[in-house]
Symmetry: C2
Subunit: 217 residues, 2 copies
DNA sequence: TAAATTTTTTAGACAAGACTAAAAATATTT
DNA sequence: AAATATTTTTAGTCTTGTCTAAAAAATTTA
């Protein structure tokens, strides 16, 4: 049995350390999870005891195979529930994260898999993040940051790196959504802002915004 | 903020004491919730401190208006999720209780209400229990126990009192489901067993079974 | 109504998960 | 290579929710 709190730590380590394969620091986890370094030390000892993590004092923590699978399952649930909330319950993409943060801890393998089927096996969540399969695998993202796209070329908005409330609301306000076709018109050398065209209108986006937009070509 | 554990106690008091209006004993709660009397005493003090319960030492506990509403909301969520699992995710009625036991604690008013809409405002859960509305109200059950039905009369199976795994599986095996039209053919005086007719076949049910079947006429 | 029984409460302990403050180890500067 | 700064761990405390054992109150029986 993995507790709710343990699941949240597994997820943090997974995200910070390339799917848990690379050792991450106590402080990094504490910041991610909004707790203190001492609490993290306590918890990673428990994870190591349960064979979910590899831990050497003062050298950070990574996930075992078992820990990686457990983390991937939590992420799978999180993202499937986000799809459910947006596609079936009419939530907007900036409202779902907090609720998914709770739903991801519901324990029932059958529930996850039936939900997956009900949603018709989605491959990505409402923010463009890939949904792991039952074995924790997913195809790597093929999208590239909008700065990598040549001037004059088009791509489809398929992933937003920063899924914070503020950023998603900015996108809503500017009517930018996943699936939109975007053409890169011009880059301003002074501040790296981009002029883009989508749905027959031009839009200027700042460097900060552009850094978070990823397109598939 | 009401914790998960507090919600479970509220539900127990609500169910044991006529929607929490009547005082229930420490022991009764302990048995219902599978805990000990001393744990119950601790918790009902907390509920009273939070203005969710009325508690007088040695005289049992009932719910305040606030506590009744909170309990009804948990029950509302439990039953809506059960409907979701059965109607949308193809669970059978004997598999949903445990999962709903977890889902009932997810916190988001919008989620409950959107789920309600998505399910098209169901009035009863898969076991025939009524679903409270946003204000915690529901129309009282109009069904009667099958023993109250006159010989020769028909009714529709609309509620099963005992929703344990074993009983629901018995009903599955005997192809009895909510919504079935049932005619009461005969009662055996010796053991109070009933002969009933449904879907063009006759079936003999024991007193224990009959006590848990409720029909609308 | 007194004795015996049952129920409820209190006292004290424990595990999980979090925190602060201090000590130890590691990393960075000079 | 010291000295300094940062990171990590340890030690000790707190809260929530649970438990057992004992004490107190209420109820039932004799
Ligand atoms: Mn979470
Ligand atoms: Mn997401
Ligand atoms: Mn149920
Ligand atoms: Mn519950």
């Amino acid at each position: 049995m993995i507790t709710l709190s343990e699941e949240n730590y597994l997820k943090a380590i997974y995200h910070l350390g390339k799917q848990g394969t690379v050792a991450v620091s106590t402080n990094a986890i504490a910041e991610k999870i909004q707790s203190k370094a001492s609490s993290v030390t306590d918890m990673i000892k428990k994870l190591a005891d349960k064979n979910l993590a590899n831990y050497i004092k003062y050298q950070g923590v990574s996930l075992t195979k078992k820990g990686r699978l457990a983390a991937a399952l939590v992420i799978r649930k999180h993202r499937l529930w986000e799809v459910f909330l947006v596609n079936k319950l009419d939530f907007s993409w900036d409202e779902v994260h907090e609720i998914a943060e709770q739903l991801e801890h519901i324990k029932s393998l059958k529930l996850v898999n039936q939900l997956d089927a009900f949603l018709e096996y989605p491959t990505h969540d409402p923010h463009g993040d890939p949904i792991p399969d039952k074995d924790g695998n997913y195809s790597p993202i093929k999208s590239v940051n909008i700065f990598e796209v040549e001037i004059g070329k088009v791509g489809v908005l398929s992933f937003v790196k920063n899924a914070t409330d503020a950023f998603l609301k900015y996108l809503n306000k500017n009517k930018l959504a996943l699936g939109d076709t975007i053409k890169v018109i011009e880059q301003e050398p002074f501040d790296s802002s981009l002029t883009i065209e989508t749905n027959n209108r031009k839009l200027v986006i700042s460097k900060e915004v552009a850094q978070n937009l990823y397109l598939t070509l």
